[in-house]
Amino acid sequence: MNSLNKGLLLVLTALMATGCATTPPELTDYSAFRAEDPHSVLIVPPINNAVDVDAPAFYLSTISRPVGERGYYVFPVHMVKTLLEEDGLSDANLVHDADPTLLADLFGADSVLYVTIQRWDAQYIVLSTQVTVQFDYVLRSGETGDVLWEESMMRTYSSDTGNSGGGLAGLIVQAVAAAVEKASPNYVPLAQQANAQATAQAGQGVPAGKYHPMYGQDGALFGQAPDPVADAKSPAVETSAPSEPAAPPVTDE
């Protein structure tokens, strides 16, 4: 081990210790994904199981960036949605029930990403508003229709700052903050966090695609036979994850 490597390792360890990295609790089987090696992803409109009717439109605007940034060609989501509607597929449930290989063939896509919005809500609890989003992701092969990757992700945010000062004034500040959050919950950043974690998390996300600098070099983290160094023996991997999918509300920054 030369000194450059040592230095690099030190820097990386420091970076990981600052709370960026997460420990993959289990390793996903990437054999089907690796065998197909999709280069493009057709993202179809999400199914909405939440009460908020605005959720799908909000959501659809958040998903292109994280998938594109993983190195995949992402079909233009609004254009795709409009073309499907013109084809009589304006109901997302119909799209999700359609044969993935036919959908993929229509656009020339290697794979199709189906997202189901399970939660998109804001609950007022005592003096705070708790905002929650939860999504299920399924990526299917455009060739065979088989599942290549799936993930589920929930993120929660609470308006309760917890340190807004004591006494009546503090309570009023909290109540106002909660009311504001309840009136206009800011779902988009939460959805973006959920998408980013779902797609990029080591061991569980989507392997780097054709346009990503790590393409073809991340087998240790996104392979069915992980390299031994990825095991918990590495001290860096002991750094605990601050953000479990079902973690309690994040109360501050």
């Binding site: 081990m1 490597n5 690099l8 390792l9 990386l12 360890t13 970076l15 990981m16 960026c20 990295a21 997460t22 280069h39 493009s40 605005d54 439109a57 909000f58 659809l60 605007s61 958040t62 292109s64 960036r65 994280p66 594109g68 940034e69 190195g71 995949y72 060609y73 992402v74 079909f75 233009p76 989501v77 609004h78 254009m79 409009t82 656009f107 020339g108 896509a109 290697d110 988009v188 973006q192 980013a196 990029a200 998390q201 080591a202 996300g205 346009y211 990503h212 790590m214 070099q217 991340d218 240790a220 983290l221 390299d227 160094v229 990825a230 590495s234 860096a236």
Partner: protein, 135 residues
């Protein structure tokens, strides 16, 4: 050793901020606003146009963005400009070839050359000459 460094580099890259392969600007807000108010097509076209411009300057135009912009231009009645951006999408991303081929055929305006660098000025003029189609 090299493996360990690779793994850790990846973990650092993945766990943190976006890696920034592309310039997305305010794409999310623009798309959402337009979805909620489809009458605001001009604002949507302007927003996407700004992203394309910035993205081209940095050579970081995101996948699908030329196509989305072209589709927005088409919705605004600016077909000849739309064609330019459908061709750009097709020429930049081989994965888009089939879809863009269909869209280009759909405009009925194909130039046959597939030049991706038609001057924006001439496209602007063409749009102006189309009169109030965008209304």
């Amino acid at each position: 050793m090299r493996n360990l460094i690779a793994v850790m580099s990846l973990a650092v890259l993945c766990g943190c901020a976006p890696t920034g392969l592309y310039y997305w600007g305010d794409y999310e807000q623009a798309l959402y606003a337009y979805t909620k108010q489809p009458g605001e097509i001009d604002a949507y076209v302007a927003s996407l146009g700004a992203i394309v411009e910035e993205g081209e300057a940095a050579d970081k135009v995101p996948p699908g963005l030329y196509a989305e912009y072209g589709f927005a231009l088409m919705s605004a009645g600016r077909e000849s400009e739309a064609l330019t951006y459908f061709e750009k999408e097709r020429d930049k991303w081989p994965e888009a070839e089939k879809m863009m081929g269909l869209m280009i055929d759909g405009t009925g305006l194909e130039t046959g050359g597939g030049e991706a660098d038609a001057a924006p000025e001439s496209a602007e003029i063409a749009a102006t000459q189309q009169g109030s189609a965008a209304e």
